[in-house]
């Protein structure tokens, strides 16, 4: 029944590790996004895929790599985790580019 889901909801890991966050939407949307919300609650777009094609690639360290195996999934892989990567990461989807976005529940990442 869930529209946009993310796993895991919480992720605690050591510096230097590699981790992935998965996102799935069952809304039939063409476009998916990754956002980072920092400790001050500021939301910043990281990536966007439209029909499995990378559309938005903001100034993000290349340790972050998105992967979209199909329209319904957009995963985020992070290499060599750093303390500053600690944040809440949100996945979102929209029917088309530029349309209303629907968010997942977020993944709280804590790097120790």
């Amino acid at each position: 029944d869930t529209a946009v889901s993310q796993t895991p909801k919480y992720l605690v890991t050591q510096m230097g590790n590699d981790k992935s966050i998965k996102c799935e939407q069952n809304l039939g949307h063409d476009t998916m996004y990754w956002y980072k919300q920092d400790s001050k609650k500021f939301l910043k777009i990281m990536f966007s895929y439209n029909n499995k094609e990378l559309i938005i690639n903001e100034t993000v360290p290349n340790r972050f790599s998105p992967k979209s195996p199909d329209k319904a999934h957009l995963n985020l892989h992070i290499n060599s985790l750093e303390l500053g990567d600690s944040a809440v990461y949100f996945c979102a989807s929209s029917p088309l580019l530029g349309e209303t976005q629907y968010f997942g529940p977020g993944t709280r990442l804590l790097v120790l």
Binding site: K41, I45, F103, G106
Partner: protein, 116 residues
């Protein structure tokens, strides 16, 4: 460059009262959408209301309504009959779908606390 400004970092309101959250934006686009999202302590981002710039009528969703002033580039959210469950961060967001950027621009948020 497009910007969204929420000038009230924190607000509080008594239960059952009405509160208005402010949002201003800057754009040279004529076609755009504006949104209010709510983020309760559970951290889920929930769409509250959406306004298309070409519509003169203000959007309304139950107790939530907006005052959209296109010339003034203002988009405030009014919450009537405030409830304890309205306690949350509220984010104003803007997108110009034909600008070629396809990005939401978010404000910095207003933390609203509803008091019993």
């Amino acid at each position: 460059a497009q910007t969204v400004t929420q000038s009230q970092p924190e607000m509080s309101v008594q239960e059952a009262e009405t509160v208005t959250l402010s949002c201003t934006y800057d754009t040279s686009e004529s076609n755009y959408y504006l949104f209010w999202y709510k983020q309760p302590p559970s951290r889920q981002m929930i769409l509250v209301i959406r306004q298309e710039a070409y519509k003169q009528q203000n959007a309304t969703e139950n107790r939530f309504s907006v005052n959209f002033q296109k010339a003034a580039k203002s988009f405030s959210l009014k919450i009537s009959d405030s409830q304890l469950g309205d306690t949350a961060m509220y984010f104003c967001a803007f997108i110009a779908p034909h600008s070629g950027t396809y990005k939401y621009i978010f404000g910095t948020g207003t933390r609203l606390k509803v008091l019993a």
